[in-house]
């Protein structure tokens, strides 16, 4: 824990420095993304005439994308620049990953909560119907993001192809992730296909927590948990494999 804390501080300083607003960028940056997308979706009326409030729809949708998509972005290729730290026996590969994941999750979470509270307080958004459901959905999305990130981070150490493939995949997954639609809008055949993607279940649950019975959500949390569990196990096995073979620089 101590080591992860030290890496966290180091990461914050390296990424954001001490100039101007420094580490506030950690959540200002995702907030700007979400704000931009909210504005775009509001004007382009992205959700096909459904009567779900657009601001809340955008905030829940885009925030969840940031949560699961940015974590792999930070872990892919994370070992290489930190190889010199491996000279210190206390610093393990898993610590480097954990520090980056915690930071990324903290940024996305703060952005989501701050924006929600802001919009709720000025009346652009209604408070969530079931806050526990929202928190649980957020946790599931974070688990998905973290396990995927850990697996890809480890695999990227073994082959640089992972880095090359992740970028287009992440880009293509965004429109499919359930951020910009509800599964209920889709024809039944498409629903079946789209529900193969684990993060869709998380976004659906998140929206049900926000809008309650106002929306008809489709999700299977045991399925999502099983996928996350599988990813986590694979990731930890990969982590063991590469930590046995890491050579400090």
């Amino acid at each position: 824990m101590r080591v992860i804390g030290a890496l966290l501080m180091r990461e914050v300083l390296t990424r954001y420095g001490r100039h101007n607003i420094g580490f506030l960028w950690l959540f200002i940056e995702p907030m700007l993304f979400t704000l931009g997308v909210t504005a775009l979706w509001t004007f382009s009326n992205v959700h096909h005439g459904s009567n779900i409030p657009i601001v809340a729809f955008a905030v829940t949708g885009y925030s969840s994308v940031l949560l699961w998509r940015n974590m792999p972005g930070r872990t892919v290729g994370a070992v290489e620049p930190n190889l010199s730290l491996m000279y210190h026996r206390n610093v393990k590969i898993i610590d480097v990953f954990a520090a980056r994941l915690l930071l990324e999750a903290a940024g996305a979470t703060t952005s989501f909560f701050v924006l929600s509270i802001l919009w709720i307080s000025i009346g652009w958004m209604q408070p969530p119907q079931d806050i526990l459901k929202v928190l649980f959905a957020w946790f599931m999305l974070a688990w998905f993001g973290a396990s995927l990130a850990l697996l890809l981070g480890c695999l990227s150490e073994r082959s640089e192809v992972v880095d090359k493939i992740w970028h287009p995949t992440a880009y293509l997954l965004f429109p499919l992730s359930g951020a910009a639609f509800m599964v209920d809008f889709l024809p039944p055949v498409a629903q079946k296909v789209i529900l193969i993607l684990p993060m869709v279940h998380g976004v659906e649950l998140l929206r049900e927590g926000y809008f309650g019975s106002f929306v008809h959500a489709h999700y299977d949390i045991p399925y999502m948990a099983a996928v996350c569990f599988g990813l986590t196990s694979l990731a930890l096995a990969q982590e063991r494999y590469i930590s046995k073979r890491v050579t400090p620089e």
Binding site: V3, M9, R10, T14, M86, R89, N90, V91, T247
Partner: protein
């Protein structure tokens, strides 16, 4: 005590697997100063990384009953965008050492003065080496791993380092790897020689020297 049992280390390369260390055994008792001699590329640095625990052996085990430093290579693994002080803070944190009380020591020993609060990337190589050495001495260990001491900074600073490490800490355990026999002779009371992946240990320095000379010429 440090007990190295039957260590094998292999690396994978483009032309297959290469055995760098081949069934190595060595026991280092507390307070001993052990030199490890070997030519360039003989596996000295690999061995010191394995002893430090930074790298894992392919097979075999290492038992450590005393605290061991990281390999002091006097280069320093610094993040260039961070200040010298940030780097010190990081090292103190990962070793669980209180940080405030070490600042004065590092500032004084490294002779960096106000530069300690500047990013390391603005330092000259001499300044980096001074910072690296000062930080290495800011955390105390029972055993120091010393990888190839090259002269640090000017000769006056070099002497200061020698005094700090070999005089003030002369009751500590030390494992020193080098290809310079004279350096090992000055600081060690036992030595071992690495030749083509095998380690040959000697209780007498002179025997080790003779063996090293014989093999470094013939190979």
């Amino acid at each position: 005590m440090i007990c190295i049992k039957d260590i094998v280390k292999k690396y994978h390369t483009r032309h297959g697997s290469v055995t760098v260390l081949d069934h190595i055994n060595l026991t280092i008792n507390k307070g001993e100063k052990v030199g490890i001699l070997g030519r360039n590329g003989s596996g000295k640095s690999t061995m010191i990384r394995l002893i430090s625990g930074a790298e894992q052996p392919s097979s075999g085990s290492i038992e450590r009953s005393i605290s061991i430093s990281w390999p002091l290579a006097f280069g320093g693994a610094f993040q260039g965008t961070l200040t010298g002080l940030d780097n010190l803070r990081f090292i103190c944190r990962i070793y669980g050492v209180e940080f405030e009380s070490r600042i004065d020591y590092v500032q004084e020993f490294s002779e960096l003065g106000p530069y300690l609060k500047e990013p390391v990337k603005t330092y000259s190589s001499g300044m980096r080496a001074r910072l690296a050495f000062a930080i290495s001495m800011a955390v105390e260990f029972d055993c120091f791993l010393i990888d190839e001491i090259i002269a640090v900074g000017d000769s006056r600073f070099h002497e200061k380092c020698q005094y700090e490490l070999f005089e003030k800490r002369k009751n500590r355990t030390m494992i020193i790897v080098s290809h310079q026999p004279d350096f090992i002779r000055t600081h060690c009371d036992k030595a071992a020689v690495l030749v083509s992946g095998k380690l040959y240990a000697f209780d007498q320095i002179d025997e080790a020297m003779a063996f090293y000379h014989e093999h470094s010429v013939s190979v």
